[in-house]
Symmetry: none
Subunit: 237 residues, 2 copies
DNA sequence: TAGTGGTCTAGACCACGAG
DNA sequence: TCGTGGTCTAGACCACTAT
């Protein structure tokens, strides 16, 4: 008795056919009715698999015409995905190192109260990290996580600096989406010292609130990044 | 005979109930079976409406528990989609005005040559605009477009400052995607003067290369934005 | 006109969460 | 245990595209 949904099986089959090239870019898929017959399911089930692939921009449906594999240019790796710092910085090309500067239990700071949905005085885990790229200081990050969601995180080993992997492996928390605000600020004396820039030098300043699949806020994070390490975003129409 | 799908009607009804507060944040919706009965449709139709709202993070479904209204998160300059400046800034809430500071034909600058795929000395249209939000200077933007793609753009009326609409209406160019890099910089004397900040003040600095559906680069643009107008990005896992 | 995807029905059984 | 959302069926008619 398989516990895997049928549409998921179909999704993975079509997905791997696209990845392997068996279904080439621009190629037309069999009609939904055909696919339903081949997989021995109803058309609605096929549609659920196809919709998932459409959401990932691997397939395009054209009413009256058919379903087609998208051109590879549109399949390019999304730079706008929620990922670890190493992912974002392109860890393939550069050596990313993390220096843990502080990890402690503190009352939730004012600025994080509302985003995290915590009452004043509630405890959080505060984690301050310096990110280095090719041994050069690149970004200072401070995260606050509700203590109730990640108890004892202050004592857990942070796997290679990846907070996301740690809370997934230790607490089963999956991170699903984040709202991020990006601005600019002048380096304070403390930031300047840590990041190796002059006081008042411009930094990329950002605030991020990360949520789990049920939209519970899991992390409030601020970061300051040297301008030589810009953020890359791909925007689609 | 209505040509609007029923799930769309349900979607809009629920959507406006959420917007008006009739369905408050954290509130539980009636069950899918209930909604189906109320709207006089089958459950699958209700699910289609709810899925759409879930995709937009307005609702959260929890298996075994119910469907709930999401807590709202601040809406700022949304950057997930390629759109006009007014779109990004949320033109409903704020008055966005554009001051055209320069429009001329010039040789392609060095920095834009490779992104636009132009040989040295080729001509471009250069457009410099100041964006004001509620009459306060917010961003300085300079765009270069290959002359060959938009001949005589220097003389065409720029509809309310929307370059995108103008080149679509006059040249049939549709913009499909853009790569953007966001960083920070210190205001030069000229930028400081135009934007009303002190020289050396931090600004959000970005570079964007916009493409048409066939991936031809249509625009190379730099902009400097005051930090009170941060960019907002939603990241998905 | 033939074939495609878009919408929709009226059921069904199952997995999960809360009390 | 009971109510919820998750999955799935076997049909149907419609809107649209290509020929």
């Amino acid at each position: 008795m398989s516990r895997i949904p049928r549409y998921q099986v179909i999704y993975e089959d079509l997905s791997s056919q696209i990845a392997s090239g068996a279904l080439a870019p621009e190629a037309q898929l069999p009609s939904e009715a055909d696919l339903a017959e081949r997989y021995g399911v109803s058309r609605m089930t096929v549609r659920q698999a196809v919709r998932q692939l459409q959401d990932e921009h691997l397939l395009v449906r054209r009413r009256g015409a058919g379903t087609f594999v998208t051109r590879p240019s549109a399949q390019r790796r999304r730079l706008n995905r929620l990922g670890s710092f190493a992912d974002e910085m392109g860890a393939e090309e550069h050596r990313v190192r993390t220096e843990l500067r502080a990890r402690e239990t503190t009352a939730v700071p004012e600025e994080a109260r509302e985003p995290l949905g915590l009452a004043a005085g509630r405890e959080t885990i505060r984690i301050e990290r310096l990110r280095l790229i090719d041994d050069r200081p690149a970004a200072l990050q401070i995260s606050w996580l509700p203590y109730a969601l990640v108890p004892l995180l202050a004592r857990v080993d942070l796997a290679g600096g990846s907070l996301y992997r740690t809370i997934r492996d230790h607490y089963g928390l999956r991170l699903s989406w984040a709202d991020m605000e990006v601005s600019a600020s002048a380096a304070t004396a403390g930031q300047a010292d840590v990041l190796g820039v002059r006081r008042g030098a411009p930094l990329i300043a950002s605030v991020r609130i990360t949520h789990d699949p049920s939209s519970t806020a899991v992390e409030y994070a601020r970061s300051w990044t040297r301008p030589e390490f810009p953020l890359s975003i791909r925007l689609e129409a």
